[in-house]
C-alpha cells in the first residue's frame, strides 16, 4: 500500500498513516510519501512508539510537486 501525504503539513501525514495501518493485517508493508520536513521526526517517532518497523527512509531532492523534496518512508506493521 502507498499513502500519498505530499503537500500535507504535520501531523496530517502521521494521522493518515495511523488510519491506514489500523485496517491492515500484521506484517503489512506500507510506503508513505510526504513533503513536510517535520515528517522526518514525526513518522519514525510514531512508528517506534507503536512498535512498527521503519524499513527504510530516503529523500528525493525536489522530486515532489512544487519542487519540494520528496520524503519516502517504507515500513512494516507490527
Amino acid at each position: 500500500m502507498e499513502i500519498d501525504a505530499t503537500g500535507l503539513s504535520c501531523p496530517m501525514p502521521v494521522l493518515r498513516l495511523q488510519k491506514a495501518l489500523r485496517g491492515l493485517p500484521p506484517k503489512a508493508r506500507v510506503t508513505l510519501l510526504a513533503t513536510d520536513p517535520m515528517a522526518k521526526i514525526d513518522v519514525p517517532h510514531f512508528l517506534s512508539e507503536n512498535g512498527h518497523a521503519l524499513l527504510a527512509h530516503r529523500t528525493q531532492d525536489k522530486a515532489a510537486p512544487g519542487g519540494m523534496d520528496l520524503l519516502i518512508f517504507e515500513m512494516e506493521k507490527a
Partner: protein
C-alpha cells in the same frame, strides 16, 4: 525560595553524602543535564542512573573510582526511567546487572539514541523548531552510545543488596514516564528520585496522571530521609519535594479550569501565569504539561513530538527566560 540542601553546593561533579553514598550533579539541570548516584558498601557498588552520552558517563565513573575502592567495577545499575539522560551511559558498565521497571525497558527500546541523533540530523531543515531542538540536545554525543537495555525487570517494589545495605526500588509511575522508580537507601537516609523531582526547573509531565506524581511526592515526604537527590537540579530536602507537589496541584487546577473553559492545550499553556514558579528554568515545558493534562482530562489524542517542540519554541520566544 531556596530549595537546595544547605549542606551541599550546586556544582558540577561528585558530592559526598556520607556512609558510601554519592551524588553526581550536572548544573544547570536543564534538558539532558541530569543527576545520578552511587551507593557503595564494602567492595560492592550500585549506580542510580547513567548519563546522556558516553563521555559524560566515563567522566562520572572515573570520579567514582577515585573516590571509592568499591566502585572500581560497578556491579549493578538501576535506571530510574527510560529517558536517555538517565540510561544512555549503561554501555559504560559492561559487567553490571542493569535493573529497571518493565515499562522503562520497553520504552528504552522505543526511543533509542539513534532516534535522537536522527532528530538532530533533521533539525537544520526544521526552522525555529529545529533551532530549539538543537539548543536543547545539540551538546550531547549520541553517536557515542550503544544502547544497553536492562537485563533484570521489576514490576513491583523490590529490594536489592549492595554489600549489607538495602536499596529499595519503588515504582511510582506512570507520572513523568511509564516506569518511574525511586531508589531509597535507608542506611544512608537518602533517596534518589530520578525525574520525579526537578528542583529549580519545570518538571515535564510526559505521561501522567498527575495524581501519581503527587502520590510519589507524598511517598518521599513520608520517608525517613535527610538527603534527597533529584533527577535534575541541586540536592534538596523535603521542602523541595513539597514545592514540586505544590507545582503539580497548582498546574492541574490551572489547566483544568482552562480545559473546562474550552481552550486547547496550547492556548492554556500560553495563558497560565506561572506565579511563584516563574523563575524556575525551562518554563516552556508548561506546553507539554498542558498537552498531557488535557489528554488526562479527556482530550482526544496526544500531539506529535514536532508539534510539542514547535509550540515550546514559540513559548520560549514569546516568554524568554530571565537570567
Amino acid at each position: 525560595m531556596q530549595l537546595g540542601h544547605p549542606k551541599f553546593t550546586y556544582e558540577k561533579g561528585l558530592h559526598q553524602i556520607g556512609n558510601g553514598a554519592y551524588a553526581w550533579l550536572q548544573p544547570d539541570g536543564g534538558w539532558g543535564w541530569s543527576n545520578a548516584g552511587l551507593v557503595v558498601d564494602g567492595d560492592q557498588s550500585l549506580l542510580v542512573d547513567t548519563l546522556f552520552d558516553v563521555p559524560l558517563t566515563l567522566d562520572m565513573l572515573a570520579a567514582y573510582k577515585d573516590a571509592e575502592k568499591g566502585a572500581q567495577t560497578i556491579n549493578t545499575v538501576v535506571n530510574t526511567h527510560h529517558n536517555g539522560d538517565h540510561c544512555n551511559g549503561n554501555c559504560c558498565c559492561p559487567d553490571a546487572q542493569i535493573i529497571a521497571h518493565r515499562a522503562t525497558a520497553e520504552h528504552m527500546q522505543a526511543e533509542p539514541p539513534e532516534m535522537m541523533q536522527s532528530f538532530l540530523d533533521a533539525a537544520p531543515d526544521l526552522g525555529e523548531m529545529g533551532k530549539y531542538f538543537t539548543s536543547c540536545f545539540g551538546p550531547f554525543d549520541f553517536k557515542s552510545v550503544t544502547q544497553k537495555l536492562p537485563d533484570t525487570l521489576i514490576d513491583t517494589e523490590t529490594t536489592v543488596k549492595v554489600g549489607d545495605k538495602d536499596v529499595h526500588l519503588i515504582p511510582v509511575g506512570p507520572a513523568h514516564t511509564p516506569g518511574d522508580t525511586l531508589a531509597y537507601v535507608p542506611a544512608d537516609r537518602t533517596v534518589y528520585t530520578g525525574d520525579i523531582l526537578f528542583i529549580g526547573g519545570h518538571p515535564i509531565i510526559w505521561e501522567g496522571p498527575v495524581q501519581n506524581w503527587i502520590n510519589a511526592c507524598d511517598r518521599i515526604i513520608d520517608m525517613d530521609v535527610e538527603t534527597i537527590v533529584p533527577g535534575h537540579g541541586p540536592i534538596t530536602t523535603k521542602a523541595g519535594v513539597e514545592e514540586v507537589r505544590h507545582y503539580m496541584v497548582t498546574m492541574r487546577n490551572e489547566a483544568r479550569a482552562r480545559y473546562e473553559a474550552g481552550m486547547d492545550y496550547k492556548e492554556a499553556a500560553f495563558d497560565i501565569a506561572l506565579g511563584v514558579f516563574d523563575d524556575w528554568g525551562d518554563r516552556e515545558r508548561i506546553v507539554i504539561n498542558c498537552a498531557t493534562m488535557f489528554h488526562e482530562f479527556g482530550a482526544q489524542g496526544k500531539p506529535e513530538i514536532t508539534e510539542l517542540f514547535s509550540a515550546m519554541a514559540d513559548y520560549a520566544a514569546k516568554f524568554p527566560q530571565k537570567d
